[in-house]
Amino acid sequence: MSPRAASRLESIGFERVYDYVAGKADWGSAGLPLEGVNGSETRAGTHLRADVPTCGLDDRLQTVCEQLEKSGWDTCFVVDDRRVVLGRLGRHVIRTKENVLAEEAMTPGPSTIRPSARLADVVERMRRQSLTNLPVTTSEGRLMGLLMRGDAERALERLSS
């Protein structure tokens, strides 16, 4: 639709016309704000916890576990230098504190959602699949944070009241 609009504007006489081809789907997937009735407040990206721990493939699991104990988190995402999610260290693996690399201990390719995902849809999915949290990544796969089910449910209640 936007290519036709851009061409129409040129036919009217506008000389500097640009087409943001990827549109608001791309904008929202990048975690950028949206306004409107169903703007950012109703989306997963606004309610995530950005301080979720991360580590690299070459980090030792024991070291990661020690850091997690101090932070109070029981999960950690294995990311590359661009924060692209490669895997996840879950509660069970963290308890073992094995003397291995994060790469060897991680569950590769965890399921993720986009920051533009509608909160109502995400909560419904979390309930259906008995999930307590879901990582939120941009369309490029970069970790933005972790959406906790409790946070999402409370936000949804606030929005509907």
């Binding site: 081809v21 608001k24 409107g36």
Partner: protein, 68 residues
């Protein structure tokens, strides 16, 4: 011919060149969600008359939902 841009160039045009941002989807979809600072001129209403509100001296960026 219109220039296709990505979100980084869009942000630069908005910040540096006072670009005007136009969502060309129908009014209901604009009300549902839109980029900050955008105005709505649905494609079906885009003509010489509706374009009067745009400044011809500044860049104009159009967008819809995605590539469709």
């Amino acid at each position: 011919m219109p220039t296709a841009i990505d979100r980084h160039e869009l942000q630069r045009l908005l910040a540096d060149e006072q670009a005007q941002l136009i969502e060309v989807l129908p009014e209901a979809e604009f009300a549902d969600e839109h980029l900050p600072g955008a105005i709505n001129i649905p494609l079906k209403q885009l003509d010489r008359e509706s374009a009067v509100r745009l400044d011809r001296a500044d860049p104009v960026i159009v967008y819809c939902h995605d590539t469709q």
